[in-house]
């Protein structure tokens, strides 16, 4: 009796939801899990689309916006996402992530990616501990030296933490092509698990040296600013997607760009940031379905360049 009533109620709610909500995107609709790639240093599988938090999650004490961020995180984990990236530089983002994790019952699939960002190596450990408390995690999966700030001192700390079992992976970050010479130098000399750089269908400088070097050195690659902080998606909004986009399973420009990025053999994961549940679903759906091969990737870049 109860079961029947509940079943009917569920059916009614599902119909109502179907009437109100936009149809889910391909991929998510079929409930397909996102494609994964192995972290080179351990073989651990990571879904190829993650979640950034710069600006989007810096909502301070605003209770409405904190819940919106938690809803984005919920949709992210629902769709099979794992890696969330933040930094002490991002205002209240760390705190908001902690709030979301708590609200969602601390999803076990979380892969926490944080950064250390302070000009003094001595302040590193205290800052890392503060970040950890914000997230409310026992330890971080990955800590990265943000923009190479005081990188020598911080890397020493991070490698020590890793050796002591207080951290699983160590990395460095840059963005928009800054300090690539030094970046490569550190890649060549330090046993990093991850590097984080900017890469997308128009910002392709890393293809020349950094991505090949990451492959050679067995380092995972995290891609930031996949949408140029929204500038690229906005620019392409009015342009038509090529007909052959369906062949690679991209139904929007965001998916087109993400598929371009994560199909590069050296890339492990792209971490787009968003304030919107529909966007996070769309982004995770890009990690499902067919992926472009090398020839198609060239075609994709050429198509965008010609627009």
């Amino acid at each position: 009796m109860t079961t029947t009533r509940r079943t009917i109620l569920q059916a009614v709610l599902a119909t109502a939801a179907a009437a109100i909500l936009p149809p889910p995107l391909k991929g998510a609709a079929q409930g397909r899990p996102p494609a994964t790639k192995p972290i080179p240093s351990t073989g651990e599988a990571l879904p190829v689309v993650g979640l950034g938090s710069w600006i989007t999650f810096n909502v301070g004490d605003d209770p409405v916006l904190r819940d919106e961020c938690a809803a984005v995180m919920a949709a992210f984990f629902d769709a099979g996402g794992r890696i969330i990236d933040s930094s002490p530089m991002y205002g209240s983002s760390q705190d908001v992530i902690g709030y979301g994790l708590e609200k969602l019952g601390r999803p076990s699939r979380l892969f926490s990616a944080e950064k250390v960002w302070t000009s003094s190596g001595d302040n590193g450990p205290a800052q890392i501990e503060e970040s950890r408390r914000f997230w409310g995690v026992p330890r971080f999966d990955l800590l990265q030296v943000h923009n190479l700030v005081a990188w020598e001192e911080h890397l020493k700390t991070l490698f020590e933490m890793k050796a002591a079992g207080q951290l699983r992976y160590v990395g460095i970050t840059t963005s928009e092509g800054r300090r690539h010479d030094l970046f490569e130098e550190i890649m060549r000399t330090q046993p990093l698990d991850f590097v984080q750089i900017t890469y997308n269908v128009v910002d392709r400088e890393v293809e020349d040296r950094i991505l090949p070097l990451a492959r050679d050195r067995g380092m995972g690659v995290i891609v930031n600013r996949p949408f140029q902080q929204g500038v690229l998606t906005q620019r392409l909004e009015g342009e038509p997607l090529p007909e052959w986009a369906t062949e690679i399973g991209a139904s929007t420009w965001a998916q087109f760009i993400l598929k371009f990025i994560v199909s590069h053999p050296a890339v492990t994961v792209a971490i787009p940031a968003t304030t919107r549940v529909d966007h996070v679903r769309e982004n995770l759906a890009a990690a499902t379905g067919p992926m472009p091969d090398e020839a198609t990737r060239r075609r994709m870049a050429a198509y965008v360049q010609d627009l």
Binding site: I55, G60, D61, T275
Partner: protein, 235 residues
């Protein structure tokens, strides 16, 4: 910062415009109904600068300085330190500057009695009165007036003594009226710097209101750099 020339103004913006504007709504709700006494104190200052008062032990000039100083400390503590700093860590470095401004006002205005707030018909007097009136009456209306464009309600109004911009603009106005010589520059430095910071923030957000703090700062500086007309009568 390495390769600083590769950074744009927008790269330093840590939050979205939506979060920034909603912050004023949240802040107003949190401190309500303090807006009413704040505006009332502003109105009293207005009366005194038009008609300065002198009681046996105390003149209105010193009281204006005390009210202004209180506004700066309050904005430093309640807005910059407790509110704005949650989305912009740089605000924690600005809050002490606001406290310093309050101390300068107390010391120079209230203790030493070096400020005389009597609006006259000099360029500086008129510009000062206009800036003060603007900060008190018009600035809070900017949010609801541009609301059809920006979608911001009256609840997001930026009020003198509660939010930093109108407090800084009001101070620029009052100092235009009340401060002379080198002391004026000492007292103007922090409000002017804040106006530039606010301009940069709003500009990076793409907000058309960015010209407001910049214009206020420009008027305060221009009216002062114009010595002959600045100190002479308008007619």
């Amino acid at each position: 910062m390495p390769e600083w020339w590769t950074y744009r103004l927008e790269d330093f913006l840590l939050f979205s415009p939506r979060v920034y504007w909603r912050m004023f709504e949240l802040h107003n709700a949190a401190v309500w109904p303090l807006q009413i006494p704040a505006l009332a104190l502003g109105a009293i200052i207005l009366v005194w600068i038009v008609r300065p008062r002198q009681w046996p032990d105390l003149g209105s000039d010193r009281l204006v300085s005390i009210i202004l100083a209180a506004a700066w400390v309050w904005v430093a503590w309640s807005f910059l330190w407790n509110r704005y700093a949650t989305i912009n860590w740089a605000a924690t470095y600005v809050a002490p500057a606001f406290v310093l401004q309050a101390l300068l006002l107390l010391w120079i205005g209230s203790l030493r009695g070096r400020l005389h707030f009597a609006a006259d018909r000099t360029v500086r007097g008129v510009v000062g009165l206009a800036l003060f009136l603007y900060s008190l009456v018009l600035h809070p209306l900017v949010a609801p007036l541009v609301a059809p464009l920006a979608g911001r309600p009256i609840q997001a109004a930026e009020v003198f003594g509660i939010a930093p911009d109108p407090t800084a603009i009001a101070t620029l106005g009052l100092l235009s009226i009340g401060a002379g010589g080198a002391i004026a520059w000492l007292l103007l430095a922090i409000p002017l710097a804040w106006c530039v910071v606010s301009w940069a923030t709003l500009h990076a957000m793409g907000a058309s209101e960015s010209w407001i703090p910049l214009t206020a700062a420009g008027l305060a500086v221009l009216s002062r750099l114009w010595p002959r007309i600045g100190s002479g009568a308008l007619r």
